[in-house]
């Protein structure tokens, strides 16, 4: 699926995700046909607030790839706007269901969005 808009957004420091322009369902990564309403080319890109909650998290204790040395968490975050995405956490102890907020590392290659617990310090 074409996620260049998302990756280009991260490079600008923006969290870009998509909703279906026909039925408003989450549409990320964006399919060519919405599986909910059948509408064509549904991606309506929005800039998300960065607020969401942790849907699930798993912690790698095995290093599969040298650029990702274990241990590290992989998270599924549900944004307040609806879309879910894979990410990682600043604090692997973040509870599932807990509120999180995005921090964008625009200079990484590829650029990444990382989530921290909302209760932690830092600008909203």
């Amino acid at each position: 699926m074409d996620v260049r808009e998302h990756l280009d957004g991260l490079r600008r420091g923006e969290l870009r995700v998509a909703l279906c322009r026909h039925c408003a369902a989450p549409s990320f990564p964006p399919p060519r046909t919405c599986p909910r309403c059948g509408g064509p080319d549904p991606a309506l890109w929005i800039t998300a607030s960065g607020r969401g909650h942790l849907w699930s998290v798993a912690e790698f204790h095995r290093t599969y790839l040298p650029e990702h040395p274990a241990p590290y968490p992989v998270a599924v975050v549900e944004l307040d706007e609806g879309p879910r995405l894979l990410s990682t956490l600043t604090d692997p102890r973040t509870p599932i269901g807990g509120a999180v907020i995005a921090e964008i590392d625009a200079d990484a290659e590829p650029p990444r969005v990382v989530f921290r617990p909302e209760s932690e310090g830092g600008a909203p």
Partner: protein, 380 residues
Amino acid sequence: MNAAAAVVGVGTTAYGALGRTADDLAGEALRAALGDASLGALEVDGLLTHRVDSYERLAAEHGIDPRWTVALPPEGRMTGPALQLAAGALRDGTCRTVAVVYGNDSRTRGATYGAGGSGSTAAGEGYGTTPELAAPYGMTSPGAFSALMLARHRHLHGTTDRQLGAVATTFRRHAQLNPDALRRTDMTLEDYLVAPPVVAPLRRLDYCQINDGGVALVLTTLDRARDRPHPPVPVLAAAQRSRLTGSDLPPDDFWAGALAEVGDAVTRASGRGRDAVDALMVYDNFSPNVLFTLEGLGWCGAGEGGAWVADGRIALGGELPCNTSGGQLSEGYLQGWALVVEAVRQLRGDCGARQVPGARTVQYACAAPVVSSVLFGADD
């Protein structure tokens, strides 16, 4: 019974680190299955291959020139669909005798299901259909996908480590009754609990073991099947339901909706209710899938899988013996095919110390982005 197709031959190779090609192993299994059915290669007019490198070479090498040839991609989720296809080709008269042939050399090739390769099985550098969203976060492996599902299940339902440990320890005890199983050493619940994590909350003992091996089945129409040396094992019904949209992330319902649909479809089509199922062969690439499958098929309520397995229900002698061969966790990971063979052997009454007494109906089920189930019966 209105089954049109039946298994008349099964063939398996050794499993493990064998240093042989997938096609070589598939060919050995094919010859064994034909021998088991007392049929010659020239009688095969349908060929379905799964994970072999070259269906063309396999057919040419073994003298098979079928009127119907299908080659399926390597994912284990294709095992149920393979049987559905083969049974359909026999039912509609396309074929009289179908060989279903599987070969896997991923152990010898060094597959890790987490680094390198491509596609959803090899997982490559990023998991799923959009690796550029997965790779930056180190999301590389199908095991991590299962770990995310388990973590969510624990959050919603309080599933405990001790409950999940019943899956691996029960299947290990079953494997100890199966001379062909790869992992047969004692495993207590305490052993399970101290096993190191791979992708937490999954432990190493929640993972199947990558290995090589070949499996083949020969199916024919039920009337012909009754002339073969072994009791025929009819394919009573088969069904599948995909959850491919959105499949880069774990499903909200742990595939329960699709599992309920295929479970209802096979029991309705066969005329045998769930209560008639004497044993369940469940796709245990990772042990949480056993909980999800039991819940989805309705053996227990949503979220109750952990409690349901914790007190012996899935063990031999229990309410629903599961994976009596040791399953993929302990017998060996043949992407569902060894579980299918176990279903056939149970219904033939060939399982010795692990035989489910009087087994008449055995179900195969796989929870994955293509959910499937196949119901096998003893001939009436």
